[in-house]
Amino acid sequence: MEAIKTIELTKMYGQARGIDHLDLKVEAGDFFGFIGPNGAGKSTTIRTLLGLMRPTSGTGEIFGLDIVQQREMILQKTGYLPSEAIFYPNMKVKDILEFSSRLRKMDCQKEAKYLCERLQLDPFKKIETLSLGNRKKVAIVCALQHRPDLLILDEPTTGLDPLMQKVFFDILHERNQEGTTIFLSSHVLSEIQRHCTRAAIIREGKIIACDTIDVLAKTKAKRVNIHGSVAVDTLTGIRDLKEGKDTLSFLYSGDMLTLLHTLSTGDVQDLSISEPDLEEIFLHYYEKEENI
């Protein structure tokens, strides 16, 4: 069963594009990454899925429920961690958490207490006295305390220190093991690469790639680093070319044999051909589109 499924989902802001005929599928139980730079439509996708905005056209479903017609049933099963953790400043942390669980008509005290302890969050502090990181922790507890089937996280780690990030991802992995679907939107690629099993890349409101992290990272492109001097102008399929004094580095997605032939004609003192990291893949996807 799909946790998230959109068909040609479109959201326009007047004339401006938000998302454009977006097709996205996330299987239940996935730890899914959603990658894209600022303004690509990540938050718009999430807000439309959660019913904060109405789609201009197209449809979306969460656990088979329609995002426009069955919004409340969806939200009951969903935990959302917004990128900006903003609450009522005069309220105490525990009052916010209680208010949130009352809006869900649930009693989440036990889970809230457990999460606060694990994240080292003082529930008796007032929101207005909290730092960005601590506000983020409140948002995390709000998103998790009712043990939702689907977690939608929008840039979850901004403001969290590395130790807390680890605790946070530990919790996410535990939840994922228990069957919770996790949808992690981020532009921190290492985060996605480390934690997610599948990912989609969004660019200008459209999904341009969606697969397992392994497949995404194993595109034909390789990172080629050369120490020495070779004329590579004749090669096709070169991207991200960086030339130093005695060095040459580029992403190569052309024919391997041609590459080896070309390299053998030059003066190569040292050579490495490696898998590019997701960061480079990401650039690769973006530049590929731009070349068209």
Binding site: R47, L50, G51, L52, M53, R54, R71, E72, M73, I74, L75, Q76, T78, Y80, P82, E84, I86, F87, Y88, N90, F99, S100, R102, L103, R104, C142
Partner: protein, 261 residues
Amino acid sequence: MSIFKHELKRNQSSFLTWTLAIGSLLMICIILFPEMKDEMSGVNDIFSSMGSFTSAFGMDKLNFGTFIGYYAIECGNILGLGGAFYASLQAINMLSKEEKDKTAEFLLSHPVTRTRLVTEKLMALIFEITMMNLIIYLWAMIVILIIKEELPLAQMNLLHLSYYFMQIELTGICFGISAWMKRGNMGIGIGIAMTMYLLNLIANLTTSVSFLKYITPFGYCDGANVVSLGHLEGIKIFIGMIFCTLSVLYAYIKYIRKDIY
């Protein structure tokens, strides 16, 4: 009812501040009456011979020397204007403040229908306005008894009831605007209350624009009119409640479809 309760808690301090402010001003005004009464015979002549100023505030229709005449004009302005400002400001912010303070995302990512949200917020508004009016009404009676004036209960009921209707109408109108706005704007709230008040003064000045009295809610809670007529003006209130209802309906329709950024 979580949002209703949450809203009451949130507005507690502004509720107390406004109630206290209006209550104290009203009290001062009432306490001043016994002193004024002795000098009233002269004052009455002056007040009733100030031309258009006299008619603007309805002082041609009332005897300033009687307590109810004094109460209808002096206290009426305090409760009328104060209540109108309070109602407008609360209502204009009620829905839009969630977007202004960026808490809308938190609130609306919970399983709460927009209809429920609008309803509970509207109930909170009406509850606050009603409580404020009840407290002021009881308080005014207590102060009147303290200064040992005779309690003009029938006229007071009419006056306070008409102010209540006026505040409810302004609440409804501003609530509709609140659903439409993306940012809270106190200026619009004060502007609406002030404009409505001035429209009534203008309508009092010249009969050629007396139709304005059917537009502004101050048309049916003009103390001088209410006291001299001895009953409420049903048609004007009815028209006012239609404005109010339409605006509230608009708030529902608009807010249910509104995009939250």
